[in-house]
């Protein structure tokens, strides 16, 4: 999933919906200041999604829910996704001063491998449909700044109640903190549990560490 090159043909929306660019344009016209990017999906499903900025996400959600043509009144699926930190390498030529064999200083060109780190992020994905117009899906994505200390996202439960348990689940299993959620508690794991098991780098503890005493 990469950002869409500008010259490509318009990407289809879900069945019965305008192309995703049109939905993007509608959002940008209807919610001033909202930053929306189209995320291209190369799979045959052709379900492209819209990446929102966290600040305007709730306004955009309300806009999509109440827009007379879209009426996305039904949030079917809400889920978290974990994207790990990635690293890209590139080879660059650098000029360096080195000691020559005779002890003099020489300038030569050396090839160096330079590594760039891209911080990973947690993603919240919402699949919207319309029960009134019977179309969909429109897919929204929200991304946290990183995976460690800035994992806050606005909750969309005040817009679609169906996200209530599912956001709790994303909080429980991924550690996304939804600001504005009415009742953000663990839902599947028990209250004293500390980690987030659906994260890609999660290491499960040994069995006897989870249940001390059982195997003693």
């Amino acid at each position: 999933m990469t950002a869409l090159p500008a010259q490509q043909a318009p990407l289809a929306g879900g069945p019965g919906l305008p192309p995703v660019e049109d939905i993007k344009a509608k959002i940008e016209a209807g919610v001033p200041g909202a930053v929306v990017a189209v995320i291209h999906n190369a799979s045959p499903s052709a379900q492209h999604s819209l990446l929102l900025d966290a600040e305007h996400a709730r306004d955009v959600a309300l806009f999509l829910r109440d827009h007379p043509d879209l009426r996305l009144d039904y949030c079917s699926l809400m889920t978290g996704v974990d994207w790990l930190d990635t690293e890209t390498t590139e080879k660059v030529k650098v000029k360096k001063v080195v000691d020559g064999p005779d002890g003099s200083q020489q300038e030569t060109e050396v090839e160096e491998v330079r590594k760039t780190k891209h911080p990973g992020y947690l993603e919240a994905v919402y699949h919207l449909f319309s029960m009134e117009k019977k179309h969909g899906p429109v897919i929204l994505r929200l991304r946290t700044a990183n995976r460690t200390d800035q994992t806050h996202l606005p909750s969309l439960t005040p817009v679609w109640r169906s996200a209530e348990f599912q956001e709790r689940e994303a909080f429980d299993l991924y550690g996304i903190i939804f600001d504005g959620h009415p009742d953000l508690r663990r839902i599947l794991m028990w209250d004293g549990f500390v980690d987030h098991p659906m994260r890609k780098d999660y290491v499960p503890p040994a069995d006897d560490a989870l249940h001390p005493g059982v195997h003693a």
């Binding site: 999906n41 190369a42 499903s45 889920t79």
Partner: protein, 379 residues
């Protein structure tokens, strides 16, 4: 937040508040499920569902295996309806990888899915009446019928409940003519069973007094809370994924979508009865039209399937509601992200809203009318 959470201090006579933990080992909870209920006298003033007792991180298990290896695990989600679970997952993989399904396999899928719907609804109605105190009889009637369907599943797939029958691109084994004849013998007898079953209690005065007006779910709240399946349609919303998405070959069948009016327990009970009748109609048409031919796309690679990087969301109308699977592929042999949209769990979101102000005894039948299976709620 729409659900009014009553603070203890604001309730009149707050000294009389009693906290009850219903479950997790109570027969009315249909599994290992608990409700933290606060009562004022017999009236419910707060109710919080607590679950996760069966949690085994199904999604993580599926992300660690190949696409094929997740199919038997989907059987164990809603363990009464393994056939529809298989279908939902296979549909999502087919969307992700662009796989076509041969005609005969589509018909077999419809037949087994509708048989599943029939036995699920029969069982649910039996359990619901059991919850109301009609001890034994309706449930045994339902199970007698369910047994016949499970026998058919066993002779087709080798297992009664954990069928592991569908594959992306088709189904695992072909059905024989003898098997189809057996289904053709069973289906004409089903309407008579529904009549008999319905006449047991439908017009019973006690049943009507208990269920009519109980556990009401308003239409707008049902939509906003993502309630799906017979529960949503009992509140009068015409939304059936079989009609909306027309996945598989559902556009070829003539059937109606029954709708309720009041959104109470009685409507939800009637919805199941009416859907059983529509299911019989679909079965008759499918059994009449089923063609010969291959049952699986021969080009599909079951083992070592590597879909292009991308994502897909596939959904079907399972007996409980909209069952969806969301898959992200990174181009490798196992899904990067595998997510189940469990209808049972999302239908529980508004359990508190339906129960507030009701009597504690009605909580049992309101929960019974939601139709949950904890294998799917907890995953």
């Amino acid at each position: 937040m729409t659900g009014p959470l009553l603070e203890l201090d604001s309730v009149a006579g707050a000294g009389e508040i009693m906290e009850v933990s219903m479950g997790p080992h109570h027969p009315s909870t249909h599994g290992v499920f608990r409700m933290d209920v606060r009562l004022e006298g017999e009236k419910v003033v707060r109710l919080k569902p607590v679950f996760g007792y069966l949690h085994r991180n199904h999604e993580k298990i599926a992300e660690h295996g190949a696409y094929l290896s997740a199919i038997p695990y989907t059987d164990r989600l809603d363990y009464l309806c393994s056939m529809t679970n298989n279908w939902g997952y296979c549909l999502a993989v087919e969307k992700l990888a662009g796989i076509a399904v041969p005609e005969r396999a589509e018909y077999i899928r419809v037949i087994v899915a509708e048989l599943t719907r029939f036995q699920n609804h029969a069982g649910l109605v039996g359990f619901l009446l059991q919850d109301m105190g009609a001890s034994g009889t309706p449930l045994m009637y339902a199970f007698r019928e369910r047994e016949k369907v499970l026998d058919l599943f066993e002779s087709l797939s080798g297992a009664r409940m954990m069928c592991n029958y569908m594959r992306f691109g088709g189904v695992r084994v072909d059905c024989t003519t003898a098997w189809l004849d057996e289904v053709r013998r069973l289906v004409p007898a089903l309407p008579r069973f529904v009549d008999e079953f319905e006449n047991l209690l439908r017009a019973n005065e006690i049943l009507m007094a208990r269920t009519q007006g109980t556990g009401k779910l308003p239409r707008d709240l049902a939509i906003n809370a993502g309630v799906t399946g017979p529960m949503l349609r009992a509140s009068g919303v015409n939304y059936d994924v079989r009609k909306v998405d027309k996945y598989g070959i559902y556009d070829r069948f003539d059937f109606r979508v029954p709708l309720g009016d009041h959104g109470d327990v009685y409507d939800r009970y009637m919805m199941r009865i009416l859907e059983m009748r529509e299911t019989v109609k679909i079965l008759e048409q499918a059994l009449r039209d089923i063609p010969g031919g291959p049952i699986i796309d021969p080009k599909v690679r079951l083992r070592g399937l590597r879909p292009k990087a991308g994502e897909a969301y596939g959904r079907i109308e399972s007996p409980k509601g909209e069952l969806g699977f969301y898959l992200i592929s990174d181009g490798s042999t196992n899904p990067y992200r595998y997510r189940v949209r469990p209808p049972s769990m999302i239908n529980l979101t508004i359990l508190e809203d339906m129960c507030l102000g009701e009597n504690i005894a009605d909580v049992v039948i309101t929960l019974g009318s939601v139709d949950i299976v904890l294998g799917e709620v907890d995953r």
